[in-house]
């Protein structure tokens, strides 16, 4: 089901929010993803992902203080909700299960 499934890019965004805690916001996430994966994404893409995550209830947001660097505009700070943490760990657990199930031989061959 698409509604509850966590997409690959969404997972990256979610993880970045975790990394940047407590000051995750649009530009920061974009740069974090670039730093960690080398993927150049537009703010628009990040924003779309954030939008979906918020709709699914995986993250929550609040507006911060105005800063001069942004022409007086406030940032929207994002934090992962408990449900978000659960989704992340479930996703991680699933992958662990797969990893663990792969026979050692596979790694030896390659």
């Amino acid at each position: 089901m698409k509604g509850t499934h966590l997409g690959e890019f969404q997972e990256l965004v979610l993880l970045s929010i975790g990394v940047l805690y407590p000051e995750a916001y649009g530009v920061g996430i974009k740069e974090e993803i670039y730093a960690k994966t080398g993927r150049k994404v537009t703010l628009s893409t990040v924003h779309a992902a954030l939008n979906r995550l918020e709709k699914k209830g995986l993250i929550k947001s609040e507006l911060g203080e105005a800063t001069k660097i942004r022409g007086g505009k406030r940032k929207r700070y994002l934090t992962i909700t408990a449900y978000g943490i659960k989704m992340l760990s479930e996703s991680r657990a699933q992958r662990e299960q797969f990893w663990n199930a792969i026979p050692k031989v596979v790694f030896d061959v390659n």
Partner: protein
């Protein structure tokens, strides 16, 4: 600008982006932008910004369409209606002022709209009406005068048929085929035209009875309209009736009144070489008769009006090479049938034409009326704005958008204008019959019957008016800044509007002032015209028309009736002479002939109408009706022949056969009615009435008029057993043109009263508003010691100054327009003195001040202790 992202893209983002997302998104973009700017420079940063904004155009960012579409709109609309009704009821006086003002303006406009509507639909009933054209021509005479004539030289019509292949049908219409029916001893004139058979192929007039084409098989038959049938033969079958000239009615058509620009009451047939063409010589050599023949054509479907005009060009050249006695140049052009009514006005129109000037007049009237009423609405509703700002402010704070406020105010206006429409329509209904009888000229394209289309048009028209009137207040309200209402530190920017209001009020007053001045001037002019001396007596003088055969007998019969003092036989009616009539050689140089108006009368002439003489005597009692005639002349004629008053009597004027000996010079006897400008030269010629009509003028004893009349009627019946006795008073006859003029004045007065009433209502509204809002201010002034006088002066200042300005503008304007445009065409033009204008100003000022003072007086007298008790 350095250090700022491109403005355009920011605005674009703001426009499409959801409001709650804009701040963070734009913040993010600007942060990266500033960083890029520092690292790589302006152009890169701009490019980045641009790209990012474009990439943000996606559904999740886009503004969502309002979700409450239909249901919400409906309930909002319902609420708006409810609010509008409540506001109407709560501010009864304001609403009444606005509704009545708008209703008056709408009523006048509805008349105009009806005329325009009817005018536009004229001649649309014919099949293929868009292919029907009229051929008209510009006639240039030798002395260079150029005029558009609707009629053409009849020879041209024949050539037209042969020369231009684009024409499917050509019909030749000839005007001046009049006849009469004798009903109950009274001749009823019927105005007719002659047509050829193509007429019925081109035009579709509804056939009511008989076969119209049958007139072409029988020379002595005619078609009449249903209107004539109803007038002459009510309840009878008109088919088979005979006119006095011997034509038999073969068919009945529906009257073209209000259906076609072409007007006729009777149709006869135009045979080949019919009237006007019997003289072969005239037919071949002269192209001079272009007064009564008309050509209507139907284009072939394959042709176009442009192609027709191009061919008419070479056609004109061909016609101009024909032998032409008067050396006139003709240029033929086509005129689409449906454009005739509001098109270029030409000479010799065969029926109703309003012309583009008329159309413009209608439109200007509509605009002025509605503007005035809209001004009132705008003025009053914005004046009320100060009271309503709180309401609007609260609505705004609780989330109304500008659009919703505009909608609410417009809704109110529309409800109000619908009420006005209801009142306006009932006024329209009540007046429409009067309107028809008041000015027959105007009512030619006025259809009193209301149909669904016209009513829909009225409603649409009202809505447009409402929107125009309501837009300014609506936008004004929506611009109210909610914050400024609740924060006294932010000042209201109302100054500009106050000035505008003053300008509007002054404009209204100026217009009213102009109207009242013009009406007073007209009224004075009418009195002046009515009392202007005619140079002869009209009291107890009567006109009886007879024919030459019975005239002399009739005269002696009348003379024997007791109570009749004198009778004279004349050819025309004094004071209403026709132009021309007699010509003679100029005594100065014998080659040129002079044409003047004339009146033939017998020796009793001076006894009947008692004119005065400057010199000489009246006709000798024993004049012989020979070649030597005695004439009485006026001073104008003496000027024309360069003769002094002293030498005038005894001068003999000659034409080829006759000699006219001047025996007397008339003192101030008028030749024409007052509308003809200055007096014309004329002569009164001794002898029997030889031309046109035989008229008996009677002078009766004032004492026993009723008996005299019965005696006259008995004498008449003896000689005219079939005809009814229809005497007219000379005074009444001469005043007839005046009646028409007075009817026009009535209409003008109606318009003026409407305009003034609307302005007065506006003044009343503003006075009420002032009285209501300034109560506290005045009470405080009183507490501080102001006198009643000074308070009144304060309150009236706002009214008196606009009145003064209006007077200063309107007086010279009215003077100029009246003396140049109106009075110049009368024989006795009014020379208005300043007193008339002062009178007008005083009149209007008194009425306005009365209205205003009636409101302010109440406020000025209020006990301050009462009003300020709760402060």
């Amino acid at each position: 600008m350095k250090g700022h992202p491109p403005k355009f893209w920011t605005t674009l983002l703001k426009w499409f982006c959801q409001e709650q997302l804009f701040e963070e998104l734009q913040g993010d973009l600007e942060e990266v932008y500033l960083r890029t700017l520092r690292q790589t420079g302006q152009s890169r940063a701009n490019a980045f910004y641009r790209k990012q904004v474009i990439s943000l155009i996606r559904p999740s960012v886009f503004k969502k369409p309002r979700k409450f579409q239909k249901l919400m709109m409906l309930s909002l609309f319902k609420m708006n209606l409810k609010l509008a009704m409540r506001n109407l009821v709560r501010h009864k006086v304001f609403s009444a002022v606005n509704i009545f003002g708008l209703a008056a303006a709408l009523c006048v406009s509805l008349f105009m709209v009806n005329m325009i509507y009817t005018g536009i639909h004229i001649d649309k009933q014919h099949q293929d009406a868009n292919r029907i054209h009229r051929i008209v021509n510009y006639v240039t005479s030798v002395n260079g005068g150029k005029q558009l004539y609707a009629s053409l030289p009849f020879q041209a019509i024949d050539i037209l048929k042969e020369d231009i292949p684009d024409l499917e049908q050509v019909t030749h219409i000839k005007r001046g085929f009049d006849g009469s029916f004798k009903i109950n001893g009274m001749s009823i004139r019927v105005r007719g035209i002659k047509v050829d058979s193509a007429f019925f192929d081109i035009f579709n007039f509804q056939v009511i009875a008989g076969n119209p084409l049958s007139i072409f098989s029988d020379i002595n038959s005619v078609i009449i309209t249903d209107e004539v049938a109803d007038r002459c033969f009510p309840g009878e079958n008109p088919i088979g009736k005979q006119t006095e000239e011997g034509f038999i009615v073969k068919a009945v058509l529906a009257s073209p009144r209000k259906k076609s620009h072409l007007q006729f009451e009777m149709i006869g047939q135009l045979e080949k070489l019919g009237s006007g063409r019997t003289n072969q010589n005239a037919y071949e050599h002269q192209l001079t008769h272009y007064y009564s023949d008309y050509a209507y054509v139907k284009l072939k479907e394959s042709s176009s009006p442009e192609a027709l005009d191009a061919k008419l060009e070479s056609f004109s050249e061909k016609v101009n090479t024909l032998t032409n006695f008067d050396k006139h140049q003709y240029r033929f052009v086509s005129q689409p049938l449906t454009n005739i009514i509001f098109g270029e006005v030409s000479f010799n129109e065969p029926g109703t034409v309003v012309g583009s000037d008329g159309l413009v007049t209608f439109l200007v009237m509509i605009t002025v009326m509605l503007l005035l009423a809209s001004f009132n609405y705008t003025n009053l509703s914005v004046a009320r704005a100060t009271q309503r700002t709180k309401e609007i402010g609260i609505r705004k704070v609780s989330g109304s958008s500008n659009g919703q406020i505009i909608l609410q105010v417009l809704c109110e206006t529309l409800v109000l204008s619908l009420f006005s429409l209801i009142i306006g329509l009932s006024m329209y209904k009540a007046f429409s019959d009067d309107f028809m009888t008041l000015i027959p000229q105007m009512s030619k394209i006025f259809d009193p019957q209301l149909n669904l289309n016209i009513i829909l048009l009225f409603v649409g028209f009202t809505f447009i008016t409402g929107i125009i009137a309501g837009t300014f207040p609506a936008v004004f309200f929506s611009k109210i800044n909610a914050l400024s209402l609740f924060n006294p530190r932010i000042k209201h920017k109302k100054l500009s509007f106050l000035t505008m209001r003053k300008v509007l009020i002054t404009f209204q007053l100026t217009l009213s002032m102009f109207c009242i001045m013009f009406m007073i001037l007209l009224q004075k002019q009418v009195t002046l015209l009515k009392t202007s001396p005619k140079g002869f007596e009209t009291e107890n003088r009567f006109i009886v028309r007879t024919d030459l055969a019975r005239a002399t007998l009739m005269k002696s019969a009348f003379l024997s009736v007791p109570g009749v003092e004198a009778v004279t036989l004349t050819s025309d009616i004094p004071g209403e002479l026709s132009n021309g009539g007699v010509s003679f050689f100029s005594p100065v140089d014998n080659d040129t002939s002079i044409i003047v108006s004339s009146l033939w009368a017998d020796e009793a002439f001076d006894e009947v109408i008692s004119p005065k003489l400057l010199d000489g005597r009246f006709f000798s009692p024993d004049i012989v009706d020979g070649l030597h005639k005695e004439v009485l002349v006026n001073e104008k004629l003496l000027n024309l022949i360069n003769t002094d008053l002293a030498d005038a009597v005894g001068t003999v004027l000659k034409d080829r056969q006759n000699e006219y000996k001047i025996v007397g010079v008339l003192d101030g006897m008028v030749s024409h009615n007052v509308f003809m400008g200055s007096d014309l030269p004329f002569m009164i010629i001794s002898g029997k009435a030889q031309y046109k009509q035989s008229i008996l003028l009677l002078k009766a004893d004032a004492g026993s008029l009723a008996n005299t009349m019965t005696g006259l009627e008995a004498a008449w019946k003896e000689l005219h057993p079939d005809d009814r006795f229809l005497p007219e008073t000379l005074g009444g006859f001469l005043e007839r043109p005046m009646l028409e003029f007075e009817n026009i004045i009535k209409v003008l007065r109606f318009l003026a009263v409407t305009i003034i009433a609307i302005s007065l209502l506006g003044q009343l509204g503003i006075a009420l508003y002032n009285a209501e809002t300034r109560t506290k201010e005045i009470s405080i002034r009183k507490v501080l010691g102001a006198q009643l006088q000074s308070i009144l002066r304060l309150l009236l200042k706002g009214t008196v100054i606009p009145i003064l300005i209006a007077s200063v503008i309107a007086a010279p304007l009215a003077h100029l327009l009246f003396t140049q445009g109106m009075a110049a065409s009368f024989r006795v033009p009014l020379r208005p003195g300043p007193w008339l204008f002062i009178q007008a100003i005083l009149l209007l000022a008194t009425v306005i001040l009365f209205v205003v003072v009636s409101q302010t007086w109440r406020v000025a007298r209020l006990d301050p202790a009462q009003t300020l008790r709760n402060e």
